[in-house]
């Protein structure tokens, strides 16, 4: 069965510091991976997906199949990055169907 693990429930950094939110997955097939973000009092929204290979708000994430990881990184954290971040895996051939989410990491960026 597929599983997504986010080992850190809480992560606190100072503004300008690098940040890395960890995500590991277990899945027998070819995974489609996503990062979703929920800012305070806002809805859950897509941040980025690995297939797009894009950088959104300065964040990037690289799929490492050898380590089964999809860590989210940003070189210089900003206070507005403070939010709940969820890593998610899609398990139906890349059609964005039936996501399996991790438990989330609450990122706090201190001034």
């Amino acid at each position: 069965a597929q599983r997504v693990t986010q080992p850190e429930k809480l992560l606190s950094v100072f503004k300008g510091a690098p940040v890395e939110l960890k995500c590991n997955y277990s899945y027998s097939g070819s995974p489609e991976l996503f990062w979703y973000v929920q800012y305070s009092r806002q809805r859950l929204q897509l941040l980025l997906r690995h297939i797009s290979r894009e950088s959104i708000k300065g964040f990037t994430a690289d799929l490492n199949k050898g380590e089964t990881s999809f860590h989210l990184k940003k070189p210089f954290a900003q206070e507005e990055d403070s939010a709940m971040y969820y890593c998610a895996l899609e398990n139906s051939g890349g059609s964005n169907y039936k996501l399996t989410f991790g438990k989330g990491t609450l990122l706090t960026v201190n001034p």
Partner: protein, 114 residues
């Protein structure tokens, strides 16, 4: 509408009561999903509709949970004889079609069962 609308935003029910949660997806969105998010957890898949057809209900935790989307737009998630373990935020999400499109979530309905 501009986004996915869910109602009620908050619902308090006594154990044993039936509840109905409504989701208005973005107009024209074919795919509709329900997720359950318990406190401190990530969202967990409940069920999926393509238009009016419920193609996957494998995530519904028991036969007390029932979802419908009779006309392929508005969907209702019904929970019968609510139990305390049903307390959670119920998220609805819609997508134009399966594929490379973005899943748009509603604000959720927070159910508390006393």
């Amino acid at each position: 509408g501009a986004g996915v609308s869910q109602s009620p935003r908050y619902k308090v029910a006594k154990r044993g009561q039936d509840v109905a949660l409504r989701c208005d997806p973005i107009s024209g969105h074919v795919s509709l999903f329900w997720y359950q998010q318990a406190l401190g957890q990530g969202p967990e898949f409940l069920t999926y509709f393509q238009n009016e057809a419920q193609l996957d209900k494998s995530g519904l935790p028991s036969d007390r949970f029932f979802a419908e989307r009779p006309e392929g737009s508005v969907s209702t998630l019904k929970i019968q004889r609510t139990q305390q373990e049903d307390s959670a935020v119920y998220l609805c999400a819609s997508m134009k079609a399966l594929g490379a499109n973005v899943l748009t979530f509603g604000a959720g309905s927070r159910l508390t069962v006393l």
